[in-house]
């Protein structure tokens, strides 16, 4: 008797080389010679390295088969005319603010809106900066795949077309949040896009940036996005991300942050969309006294998969980091928290905390949580904790005994669980916007926004 391995279950998924050739790499785009070289180097590196597998520590919860089986096409410029201004308006948080819109990774100036920025501040698309030589930007296109090793960031370097470029010279302040809207648009063929954005905050400067990812319903798209943020001494950056892509699509993201002395970075995010989403955050505290606060709310339902790898490196003394990740998994949703804090030698006086709390609303939903601390120095204060639970039955009974119907009581408690993270959003217009998105997903026949307006 012989055992036959069914080939259907081991259907060949694309290799990096096949994917690159299918996506017609290299394309002869404009740009400085160093960029062309960097693109080739990262293509070679990714080809050699291959796609991550479940054996890779940081990818053990995310099965890439469903993604690699899709015959993605490279996105083409010029999909802008298919997007109506009302689509953009629906994604707008503050009508008055500066907004850069990208369709499938290409800048769409006619859908964007620019407002006055202080002297010396640059808010534009990255391609326009690179077209003029991109002086000083070379290091940003060697480090993400050089030090952080997986194929998708390297592929982003090979393939990116555009993204946002925000530069603040020393001491400059941009008060209203800058909105970056990344829209996936696919009619028919599955489309992959690779936005790449840079946010460079000079000494003592201050800015707020909101990234929104969305797409047309039913579109099969893959967004492989990289955002790099650099904070020099005393800079303050508030970052927020709304991931609301179609639940037929894929979302792979890296937020890569480097912080100088006494700088303050905060990033919040909410994950609502995508079939498979992996939202990776890496923060390196390189200067003494830097502070980082990372919060996230992920709400996988139906068959969604939301993976949240986070790495915070304390590489200088007296830095503070705080993480609060909350997940709500319903139906067959799968949420992952894979958090890591490394305190390097010499980072004495580190104060780091990491909290992950999860709510399981269905017997078929799944949560994996993996908080990790690696400490290589003395004199540190580190706390971490993770919890997975169901709705509190006694609280449910309490609400029902006061007349609140069962479903509404469940919705109210679920929303209350999310609220701790929503309350951390500093800007009121953003909080209201995110609140509405979350309430739409969690509450069916319930007026959730009233939960806040009473107070």
């Amino acid at each position: 008797m012989t055992t036959v391995t069914p080939t259907a279950t081991t259907a060949p998924t694309a290799t990096v080389a096949e994917l690159l050739s299918h996506l017609r790499f290299p394309t002869s785009g404009p740009g400085p010679a160093w960029l062309t070289q960097a693109r080739h180097r990262s293509a070679e590196w990714a080809t050699m390295r291959g796609f991550p597998t479940l054996k890779d520590e940081d990818w053990r919860y995310t099965r890439l088969g469903p993604l690699l089986d899709v015959p993605f096409e490279r996105a083409e410029a010029g999909a802008d005319h298919r997007i109506s201004s009302s689509t953009i308006e629906a994604l707008t948080i503050d009508a008055e603010s500066t907004r850069l819109v990208f369709i499938n990774g290409f800048f769409a100036p006619e859908l964007s809106s620019m407002t006055e920025v202080p002297d010396g501040v640059t808010v534009t698309n990255l391609a326009s900066v690179l077209a003029e030589g991109g002086a000083g930007l070379e290091p940003f296109f060697s480090h993400p795949f050089g030090e952080h090793d997986h194929a998708f960031t390297a592929l982003n370097t090979c393939l990116f077309e555009d993204g946002a470029f925000i530069h603040l010279p020393a001491g400059s302040l941009v008060t209203a949040p800058i909105e970056l809207v990344f829209l996936s648009e696919a009619q028919g063929s599955p489309v992959v896009s690779n936005p790449h954005s840079l946010i460079l905050a000079g000494p003592g400067s201050r800015v707020a940036v909101i990234e929104t990812y969305a797409g047309n319903t039913g579109a099969i798209t893959c967004t492989n996005t990289v955002t790099q943020v650099v904070l020099e001494e005393g800079a303050q950056v508030e970052h927020y991300k709304v991931q609301d892509e179609p639940d037929t699509g894929f979302h792979l993201a890296l937020l890569d942050v480097r912080q100088g002395p006494e700088s303050r970075f905060s990033s919040g995010s909410v994950a609502l969309g995508s079939k498979i989403a992996r939202n990776e955050v890496r923060v390196r505290l390189e200067g003494e006294g830097a502070e980082a606060a990372i919060d996230s709310l992920y709400l996988p339902c139906a068959d969604q998969h939301h993976d949240n790898p986070i790495l915070i490196e304390h590489a200088a003394p007296r830095c503070t980091s705080r993480q609060l990740y909350k997940g709500i998994a319903d139906e067959r949703g799968h949420g992952v928290f894979n958090g890591r804090i490394i305190v390097w030698p010499g980072a004495q006086g580190t104060d780091a905390s990491q909290t992950n709390k999860n709510l399981l609303l269905s017997d078929h939903a799944e949560i994996d949580t993996r908080p990790r601390l690696e400490i290589f120095t003395d004199d540190v204060k580190c706390t971490h904790g993770a919890a997975v639970g169901a709705l509190d039955e006694e609280a449910l009974f309490y609400l029902r005994s006061r007349g609140v119907p069962h479903e509404a009581a469940r919705a109210l408690l679920t929303y209350a669980f999310a609220r701790e993270v929503l309350d951390l959003i500093p800007s009121e217009s953003l909080r209201t916007h995110v609140d509405t998105l979350v309430a739409d997903q969690l509450l069916t026949d319930h007026d959730a926004t009233g939960a806040r307006s009473d107070e």
Binding site: Y398, S401, G403, A416
Partner: protein, 260 residues
């Protein structure tokens, strides 16, 4: 008759807690239930409110309707209210929002129109005054970080807003100082009327100085073993439950004997 309880049994797993409770409460009456710890008083309250942890047999009629067939929320709409002994803390749900959601849910089920925010605020402010509760409590999460006394006052506030026909107070007086007790009793008495009834579970006679009962019952071993007028409470205060030992023992053997 507003409430008729007949041969009510309740158990969790193998543990039988109520062993044949019989009780009738008419509209306009106040009944006090006293008795030692573990005699089943809180279980009786929870069963009447619709807690789903118990296996229940027997009959409970509320205004002639089968109360046990109703969900907790339908019981609330019908006019049953339980002031909990240990009110649960619910982080993330605003007290005021909760109260308005509860009131409007109940009003909807009673066929009344919902109150808008302004109408509700006017009502809530008036009732907060009654229980001497500061408005700052309203912007906090339900019972979160409330002191014991504040939680009990919050229960009474909910009661005065929801205006139940039958209110069951489960040890609302325990842990209250004399001023808080006076405030709580004031809230309760404001609700009294010929169409409403009250069941007060307590360990202490002193609450009954403020809320004077028509009848006093003693629970022991999962049954009501003695009933009398308000003087029974004074007697219990003077002599404790020790004298009940005989009755409790005989009741237990009777109940065991009746079970095949």
């Amino acid at each position: 008759m507003m409430l008729q309880i007949e041969n009510l049994h309740a158990q969790i797993g193998e543990n039988e807690i109520l062993r044949g409770v019989n009780l009738e409460v008419a509209a306009g009456e106040v009944h006090a239930i006293m008795g030692p710890n573990g005699s089943g008083k809180s279980t009786l309250a929870n069963v009447l409110a619709g807690h789903e942890a118990y296996d229940i047999t027997g009959t409970v009629l509320f205004e002639g309707e089968d109360l046990l067939a109703l969900s907790p929320e339908d019981r609330a709409a019908a006019g049953v209210f339980l002031a909990f002994q240990h009110p649960v803390e619910i982080p993330g749900v605003g007290n005021l929002y909760f109260l308005r959601t509860a009131l409007n849910s109940v009003r909807r089920q009673r066929g009344l129109g919902e109150l808008d925010v302004m109408g509700f605020l006017a009502l809530a402010r008036e009732r907060m005054k009654l229980v001497e509760m500061d408005e700052s409590f309203m912007s906090r999460s339900v019972n979160e970080d409330f002191s014991g006394g504040e939680k009990k006052r919050n229960e009474i506030l909910q009661m005065t807003v929801l205006e139940p026909k039958l209110a069951i107070l489960d040890e609302t007086d325990s842990g209250l100082d004399i001023d808080a007790l006076r405030i709580v009793a004031g809230g309760v008495n404001a609700l009294r009327g010929p169409d409403r009834a009250l069941v007060v579970i307590t360990h202490h006679q002193r609450l009954l100085d403020y809320i004077v009962p028509d009848q006093v019952h003693v629970m022991a071993g999962g049954r009501i073993v003695r009933s009398g007028d308000k003087h029974l409470a004074l007697e219990l205060e003077a002599h404790g439950y020790a004298d009940l030992g005989q009755e409790v023992a005989s009741d237990r053997s009777a109940s065991v004997g009746a079970t095949p």
